[in-house]
Symmetry: D2
Subunit: 301 residues, 4 copies
């Protein structure tokens, strides 16, 4: 048995060193350290395709660059996300911003001023006509795409590389969005006579999984992106995932997919019995910057 070594901090300490030391602790401190180790392993494994599934208000929260970093460094091969994430990414790519607010704000007051609140973050609702204008300008091309994945690639080709969409385009990382229509981005398009068949997205997503040698996943906050990847991992001749990381505040006891233990995936064939995996119940806006900082130091290009 390994003794717990109490974490020591030093002046001017680096993030990576602190997190390494937390690996000698217990509870969530140890788990966070293991999360970095498993991410490092799956990214460094040349045979492994890395899927990231992300939901939640990570762009409003100020986490956009972390995803851009993951994409530019090709640490992830496929990015599965939500319409909301892409809407907020587009808001910023088109020159608008999110603002620091207050979770105790007067919502009636904000409504009058035209600000939409997401916990303690605000966004002007003037962003919507700007998105609409932008989409209208490219409508001819948009009308030709057959899948959401192609649509996102097209949009990405018009944007700078400091957006998620732009970075994914430039670095050939595919973005899938299985629940696109519950977002501002999707809603705007619904009035434009778009014809997109999401079953084609799914077919295209599923096919290559069958032959993948190894698969790894990183789930940030559960939701449809997690469930979409989980379901798909069953369709592989080489079995379930070889590496897995999940970070969420959702609870196990509800029985819901977002909070379900990774271990449960073994029964379904979504995860290998011998997979390296960690389940971390923590807030992603706290731990994701830390994880990316560690990976930046550990992974040689």
């Amino acid at each position: 048995m390994k003794k717990i070594e109490h974490v020591k901090v030093e002046n001017g300490m680096k993030v990576n060193e602190l997190i390494r030391r937390m690996g000698n602790c217990g509870m969530n401190a140890k788990k966070l350290s293991l999360v970095v180790d498993v991410c490092e392993s799956m990214i460094n494994d040349k045979d492994c395709v890395v899927f990231m599934g992300q939901s939640g208000a990570m762009v409003p929260a100020g986490m956009k660059n972390l995803f851009v970093e993951l994409i530019k460094n090709k640490w992830i091969d496929v990015f599965v996300t939500t319409g909301a994430t892409l809407t907020h990414d587009l808001v910023e790519a088109l020159g608008n911003n999110h603002y620091q607010g207050d979770e105790y704000a007067d919502d009636a007051e904000l409504n009058k001023k035209g600000f939409d609140r997401m916990y303690d973050v605000l966004m002007s609702n003037e962003v919507y006509p700007i998105i609409e204008d932008f989409l209208d300008k490219h409508m001819e091309e948009i009308k030709k795409v057959e899948t959401v994945q192609e649509l996102l690639r097209l949009i990405g080709s018009k944007l700078d590389e400091d957006s998620i969409l732009g970075a994914a385009y430039k670095n050939n990382v595919k973005i899938y969005c299985p629940a696109f229509i519950d977002s501002g981005f999707g809603m705007i398009l619904s009035f434009k006579g778009i014809n997109i068949n999401q079953f084609k997205d799914l077919e295209e997503f599923l096919k290559p999984i069958w032959d993948m040698k190894k698969k790894g996943f990183i789930y940030i906050n559960g939701g449809v992106p997690k469930n979409y990847i989980q379901q798909s991992l069953q369709f592989s001749k080489n079995g379930g995932a070889d590496y897995g990381v999940q970070i969420t505040m959702d609870r196990v006891e509800t029985g819901n997919s977002s909070g379900a233990e990774l271990k449960e995936g073994i029964s379904w064939g979504k995860l290998k019995v011998k997979a390296k995996y960690v389940d971390l119940r923590a807030d992603t806006t706290i731990v994701l910057p830390i994880i990316i900082a560690c990976l930046k130091e550990r992974i040689k290009k």
Copy 2:
């Protein structure tokens, strides 16, 4: 100010009476009581269209009849759900079952035996070929539908009224499923050359909202169904919702849509300042049976 009256229980007490008394308490006891009151008000309001948004493993958990009840009694007008809910509903409609299991089960053992675990509930993975056979039998008709909503209506027409899909068909309650493809049901169809345009689903969903006099919603567990209805409520000439209920274990502090306070919706115009609404942080498998039992006693047909 109203004094707290301590809840008294009596021998042979009825659910509705107990919950009424809890309305004189504080904390979550009071909130649960208010949830029933607000549901009662929105259902009894003839001018109000009631949207239910549901996610989570409610069918595996044994809650199916509660949704059937809501549909048969026409207490809800529109049901927005997940592909998983409909897959599990279909599993049972086609003669299979879910089983009581143990959350500490050996997942590798379950995998060998062919059982899939959802917390403490099990399902045989033999259900998938049965679903596939069923869908194949109706494939000609399926290939003609243009939206997920039509697909679900078609499938419902083949099933008994004790399923969610069958009850909705028979009672003309529309089912929308904005994130259909992350489910067994959806995955099976992706290999069949289906052509469905979910933007048409959305258009059809959004249009009538514009003119609705009053709107109410009941969110069971958050996720895409909640977010889909929330987004849509902004597109109405009569403002946001007049009634709202949310029941979830998700947390406010993550900033994610699933856990976001209803109050926040006022800033967006999703909820009226003067709306009657309650936000209950509780487990839906505990409180939903209670709520439906109360409504059964309170609402005259």
Copy 3:
């Protein structure tokens, strides 16, 4: 394997019948049903001493009568609680009240008006001098007691049976309060030159446990009361507890005592391997009224 039977509700349904049916479900619905079963078993087991450990704002929330019920029916043999619970019980026993408030209240405003907020419940801070006067009136007697348990018995002898303290006195149920001094009640006494030795409380609490044939516990909300009973259960010649129930919203993953799984107690010898026990992660102000209503119907005096 037992099939999940979907819960059916009927008009005028009784609480006990609904909860019984939930026992055929999964997830927390099943767990709640099992909680009632295990409580029933331990109360009906003549050889079993039942310990209740309670923390949290149950009296402000309007749950006082449930504890009075447990005590009057002698369903519990020992009550371990917090100073806060007893302070709020005393507030009401001396003629004051708690009030329904609003969790979004302006706290600065409340402070000016002299109201103390506990989430959505309010209390006037005029209650403190009333408690002090009451205690002063009995100070001579109070100064003679040697343990907190004796103190609480003495105070209970001056109060009506509709208070926890009064009911416990009249029904000879012992109340222990291992963390008494972090409460209004305790703070007031600290200025009066009281001399109480809590190690004597502990000695008196521990001694009879050694010889108890069987032991059962019900933990409402964790905290020191849970930990106090848990620690004490190790000191018994007949091993750990035979029955156990825990209801809390606290999380397992923090590693803290309040949220720790009951199962963990097996390693320590606090719980028998073959014990009947249930761990329910739920809000106690919702489920406790339900549990007591069921027990009222099930347990014959």
Copy 4:
């Protein structure tokens, strides 16, 4: 309004720099950054007495050195903790250890081997006779102490400075333990005829608060230590606290003290309206190492 600046990570990044940047984000990322700022402010404020209230399994989790650091640097003036924290500190000070384990371990097996489990941390139960021997050796002195605070000072005087108890002794930081008897340490003493009056502890704790110019608190995990300090802060001629930090995973909605918002304290007079305070819902084993690492870089001795 301040724009959200997306956090950028760099190779070899220091903890303090990363956390500073997170202050330009939203949600919990921002809150964590503010927690460090408020801790820095209260520690640097020469007029402010800093109280730390700590509960939870922080020593088993490997966090002991962080508290030792806080004490040695005199960043905190008073440490309020639990009997469990001090028991585990004593275990290590007497030469024993905690071990990394597995939260899915077989508890019956662990029981046979004599290991006690706290989530994923293990401890041999051979530590108890070692504690007892140690206490017996000093029993004559122990029997002379009148308060828990004196007892802890006495024990600290026998221990090395790398324990919490030893460091507190050497650096004249007072340790209070309002719920001492629910711990191994306390239970062992209860059989020894100790006579300690915890009301004297309280009196001694409360008295100096009356005159303190300014007060700040840092709550790690709620529980009795939080509640004890909160209650005491009301008894001051200069009003409630001027600075406050709370870090916990407990929920607001239960209404319980551990999860209660700091803001609520304004109504009671425990916190000043103009106080600087932050409420962070996060796991303390993740964020405390980070916070201490930042303080180490920011605060000049």
